[in-house]
Amino acid sequence: MIRQLWLPVAAACLALFVAACGSTKERTGAEGAPSQTSEPYTDRIAPGPAPLEDQGFDTAAAAERALTTNLIYFDFDDTVIKPEYAGVIDAFANYLTANPTAKLRLEGHADERGTREYNVGLGERRALSVESALLAKGVRRDQLSVISYGEERPADPGHDEAAWAKNRRVQLVRQ
């Protein structure tokens, strides 16, 4: 046991010693006036920043990427947009205000619990909740349309909470 510990410890000591010797040497050389170098010091500094014309940040692509998250999920029997979806709302509001001819369809969905027609009502309420959030960000009403599919188009066909959570949603579909 002891012998096994010794080897790495010895190796570490040796390494420290060698390193110390090296630095001692440099320090010795640096003693007194700095030694002259053959080239000016400034030449060793990287050249000043140069703009990269082709690989710069593409604002349009980033805005496009922001629109790939187009689902907002809701709690059971609830129509409140949770704070975590503020970014989704902002991204689509920016897109619609920047593209006045663009149109967006808000598809409201519910999980399978409850009756079908009541769930159509609930899905519409969720879609309208997203519509209100977009209108509040300055989106024009004629850019938006609302449709509710109730529980008729589940994203997940399962019959448990995990599936239901995926099905209580508003899907933002660009037209």
């Binding site: 369809r105 409850g114 027609e117």
Partner: protein, 427 residues
């Protein structure tokens, strides 16, 4: 316990691949079920259908009759004079049906007799004509209807149809079909097919039309489908929700849910003039209207009190009155044919089950035990409730007698089936 299985022949449908098979299983039976023997009929050779067996199946499935298995029949009479009442009485059989299928100038006819072996009386004797051999199944249902009414005093409902929705596939690959089958699950026919949801089928009182909800080009719509001609009319397609069609009992009006005036409310459309009347005006969700049998009132679902509950309103409008107080939620009510009770979806502790509400006493009785039962309505005559249920095998249709004792399941070999609507009796 009784278990009967049929598999209907699937219709071959171009392009859809959906199998339209309904398989029926019956469990339970009332203790007071009437013992009856339906003796095999003497039939001309070109009638392949076992008419007596169809009659037997109808009566047995109702739960109100206990039919004698053929292997236990000691005699197989085909005419009343061949019946030995004492021998049947000894087997505990109070009623015997005998008959024959023969040809005449205009086609075929079924002649049958219902004999009371206790009193030794002939209760029924009928000739029922059939022009073609493929009408024999409907002749059998008529025989079952006549026997049911004679012995129970209420009309039989075997010569009726069930409309339902079938869905298969997931997401945007989903295919929806609206089907109509005989009440025993036979002869399913596809009425409409769509890649968009089909919902809420309902029969006109003359059972010539179906109203239902569909989606087209990003909008929902209510359609009127005339079955004999296949003609489809888009009745209404407003912005927002177009849902929950319900014919008034006289067939002149359609109650619907529309949300174009900002939130879902109940409207009544006059089918002749097209005039539209707004019946409710509330910021809550008002939906799922159903008419009382006399057409004077409607019930509907509303979450105006926080949770969805059932409310009643005069057909002329006015204030809505809340009817349900038991259970966290109550939804999609419809009246019994006598107007004394409502069948509805009752939710408690996260389960959705079928409930029967007695309107006089306010008592609510739970009839089913599924976790996700929905779309209940009364079969004609009011002895049975049909609904949709979620089982380990998938979504099925089910019926339960109003006393909760006799259950049937109707399932399709592939694809979900839901939203059953039993056609009215046309007398």
């Amino acid at each position: 316990m009784k278990s009967i299985r049929w598999v209907a022949l699937a219709l071959c449908l171009a392009g859809t691949g959906a199998q339209a098979e309904l398989e029926i299983t019956v469990t339970g039976g009332v203790e007071t079920a009437l013992p009856i023997a339906i003796v095999p009929f003497a039939q001309v050779e070109d009638v392949q259908l076992d008419v007596a067996q169809v009659v037997d199946n109808d009566l047995a499935r109702s739960g109100r009759f206990k039919t004698l298995p053929r292997r236990d029949m000691l005699q197989k009479p085909v005419a009343p004079e061949q019946i030995d009442p004492a021998a049947w009485r000894a087997q505990g059989i109070d009623n015997v049906v005998v008959g024959q299928i023969a040809r005449n100038d205009s086609g075929y006819f079924a002649r049958f007799y219902l004999i009371d072996t206790v009193r030794g009386q002939q209760l029924l004797a009928y000739d029922i004509p059939a022009r073609r051999v493929d009408q024999m199944r409907y002749v059998a249902h008529q025989i079952a209807d006549l026997i049911y009414e004679k012995l129970l005093g209420v009309p039989g409902y075997f010569n009726t149809k069930i409309a339902y929705v079938s869905a298969s596939g997931i997401g945007y690959e989903r295919t929806f079909q609206l089907l109509v089958a005989d009440a025993d699950g036979e002869n399913p026919r596809v009425v409409a097919t769509s890649r968009e949801p089909l919902m809420s089928p309902t029969w006109s009182p003359d059972r010539k039309q179906l109203a239902y909800v569909g989606y087209e080009r990003g909008r929902s719509a209510i359609y009127l489908h005339t079955l004999a001609t296949g003609e489809v009319k888009r009745l209404i397609s407003e912005r927002g929700i177009n849902g929950s069609p319900a014919f008034s009992p006289d067939g002149s009006k359609l109650a619907v849910t529309l949300s174009f005036e900002n939130n879902p409310d109940i409207y009544v459309i006059d089918l002749r003039s097209g005039a539209r009347k707004r019946l409710t005006d509330h910021y809550g969700i008002d939906t799922e209207p159903a008419w009382s049998p006399d057409g004077s009132k409607l019930v509907f679902t509303s979450d105006r009190g926080g949770q969805p509950q059932i409310y009643e309103i005069d057909a002329q409008g006015g204030d809505a009155r809340r009817l349900t107080f038991q259970g966290r939620q109550n939804l999609r009510a419809s009246y019994s044919p006598d107007g004394r009770s409502l069948v509805l979806v009752n939710s408690e502790s996260g389960r959705y089950r079928i409930g029967l509400l007695d309107l006089a006493t306010g008592d609510l009785r739970v009839l089913s035990n599924g976790p996700l039962d929905e779309s209940p309505s009364f079969a004609p005559g009011g002895a049975v409730v049909i609904y949709a249920t979620q089982t380990a095998r998938g979504a099925e249709l089910a019926t339960v007698s109003v006393d909760g004792r006799v259950r049937q399941s109707l399932r399709q070999a592939s694809g979900d089936v839901r939203e059953p609507a039993w056609s009215p009796l046309v007398r």
